[in-house]
Symmetry: C2
Subunit: 463 residues, 2 copies
Amino acid sequence: MAAADALAKVHARIDEEFDRHVERIQEYLRQPSVAITGEGIPETAELTASLIKDLGGWARVVKTRSHPLVLGGLKGASDHKLLRYDMYDVQPVDPVDEWVVPPWSAEIRGDRIIARGAQNNKGPLRAYFNALETILDVEGELPCSIDFIIEGEEEIGSHALTAYVNEHREDFLGYEQMDGWFAYQPTPTSPPPIECGFKGCVFFELVAKAPMDLHSMMAAVVDNPAWRLVWALDSMRDASDRVAVEGFYDDVVPPTEEERANLPKLASYLDLPRQWGNIERLRGEARRSPEEMLEELFFRPSPINVQGLTSGWQGNGCKTITPGEAVAKIDIRTVARQDGRKLLEAIRRHLEVRGFGDLEIRAVDVTPWSRSPMDSTGVRAAAQACRDLGWEPMIVPTDPGTGPSYLFTNNPPLHLSEFFGGLGHGGSIHAPNEYFLLEGVRLFEKGAVNYLHHWADLASQSD
Amino acid sequence: MAAADALAKVHARIDEEFDRHVERIQEYLRQPSVAITGEGIPETAELTASLIKDLGGWARVVKTRSHPLVLGGLKGASDHKLLRYDMYDVQPVDPVDEWVVPPWSAEIRGDRIIARGAQNNKGPLRAYFNALETILDVEGELPCSIDFIIEGEEEIGSHALTAYVNEHREDFLGYEQMDGWFAYQPTPTSPPPIECGFKGCVFFELVAKAPMDLHSMMAAVVDNPAWRLVWALDSMRDASDRVAVEGFYDDVVPPTEEERANLPKLASYLDLPRQWGNIERLRGEARRSPEEMLEELFFRPSPINVQGLTSGWQGNGCKTITPGEAVAKIDIRTVARQDGRKLLEAIRRHLEVRGFGDLEIRAVDVTPWSRSPMDSTGVRAAAQACRDLGWEPMIVPTDPGTGPSYLFTNNPPLHLSEFFGGLGHGGSIHAPNEYFLLEGVRLFEKGAVNYLHHWADLASQSD
């Protein structure tokens, strides 16, 4: 175990150098890197590689058919090696009028740095480099080796990452663990989550069609695609909230007794809808206990989410037609051991059996889920790093959202263990006035220092 | 009864002057009059008034808060007086690229005049003036008096007409009958319909709301307005096509034995969806007889038509949200003796009882139905005019669509009798390449001549 006084020295240096650390984060945030437009993407890839080289590591920018990947590495005291997946791209800054400072100015206002990417994820990535630099400065070497794979299109689907990892799986066989130390406290006072995976995501459009729009005077004697879509949807999930697709829950693994007993500790996740969207009342709050809702959130597929509806006339007032087409955009968050493709087949069968076989399923995109053990060295090291700084973490079976980490964890022969979480609060990601709290930066950096030391210790104990 | 040889002389003059008649229709169609943009509206109002004056009548353009009305009149041989409601406005010409001739050129291509308004309704209106002119030319006077009220915003809701008629009801008490002679054959060979009313229309938006869009990772624990809208809709009309709103059919008057016996003669209405919209299979064709479908079309309210759906993400691909709002645009065509406002109350109660009381009903617009006797002098005169020219008409209880004629027929103390229909085919109304068949013009004009004579005869017989 790293000596407490060694860690204290590194923390003290972080405090001493903190203004400079913040300035470096601001510099990095001032470099735009918008995945969807490509603005600043090549420049940010080069800049990111140079940051690794400045730390004494190797780095190269890998061209792809879309945005470049940054690969790199730093040799540490032991051969135990973490693989850090990260991203250098961000979402667009629109609506730009709503920002209190220009979104690429990275100005400090009060207790925070405000910029696009401040929290997701350029702020924490640059802070991570600050932490590594401080360890090198004070201790002369890192406690373990770290390799990087940093993509520039997480926000638009991780296409290059997916292709690259699938084509070079053997390159990633030598790691024990993904480095998932991310600034992830949902509020400045929330317990830090340490999540052991991601839900998968099945996306598709469900389409009902007629030859064309028709005057609604004939509504009594013609099929209406909007109604057929409504009925098809209702047949899949009715107002009692039952998903009626046969086989929908077949492959779902129920929580273990231990996982179930852990659920009450995760209750702060039920506060997120209020924090993010002013949503006062949760769905089914009256008839479901918090534990049932938490089980739904972490261990069960989301009950067929409609993310958009489009049909017929959508302008002002009335246009008396029966529409020619109706489309629902749908996502379903899958859990272990569900197979997204199999789920789609179940939905297709369901529609056929219910008389909706003419509806089309199109624009399908399937991202697998990912799950790692809740007692991996990474989780234990991250949890200890939180406790060192006075924060009791939540150990969470999975993030309720979806990420590309299945590529490393659930993509044979790759079975790296992952976690995702840590200390430090930021917010308003994808929205105006995205921020990273200054005290969040400090917590994140100190936590990263401890986490790396704990991980190196735990990894060498297992030798 | 007008002597057959008198009518024959007028018909002969129509044939002699036919090229000039067509030219005048073309001239009128070359004057744009787009209600929604206002393009050419004042000019067309003045032009229309001048056409009545050219026939020796009186006419004035009445300013309103929106588009002007044209009032006018022609004194005939008898004091029996028809009230002709008509329109001088048209829909926009978009998509202009799809026209084979410029939409305001009114060029003749093959057997037809092609122009915006050719069929709906500037072509027939100008042809009607041709018919009147020919009668005056050959016979020296019209067989009856005719007054006109011609609006310039039928295509955008008849607001000025509604206000004017409601404020001047006493001005319209002196008429026996609306003049409903319109070019209305759905195909060049269809039996001419003579319709004795219109369905009403209840329009509203049904809106489900949440405070804002939320990341769909929380879909398991938050309400989704798109789903609430789907379930609310399904509760009102399920896939078995049953409208489940209590009281929905309460005030519906079933067809009399005579009306029921007449239904098979109206079967050509079931061809309209194929002619208009390439719709091969009618809704419920397998389980309903043609007579049942015709009863549905003419004697029952349309089963809650969804004309549009809007919710959440509608661009390309996936945006993993639960949407903040979902809207359905709905119309219901009402029949005698339904009260649109009462129907809305029934829907509101239905939603409350089913747990959808939080959904908003907004943007309400209610147009009443209108029904007149199937043996009025107008219907009998129009039917005879069709038979004179070798066409056996369909006497139809109601148009399946909606019009503003309730203002005159169903708006106490006004109880004028109406019909709507006649000889002459045109098509593609509201669409590119709208047309009026040249032979349709000829039939329409000759039919109008006979209809007016028959009506004057029947009206004086009732003295």
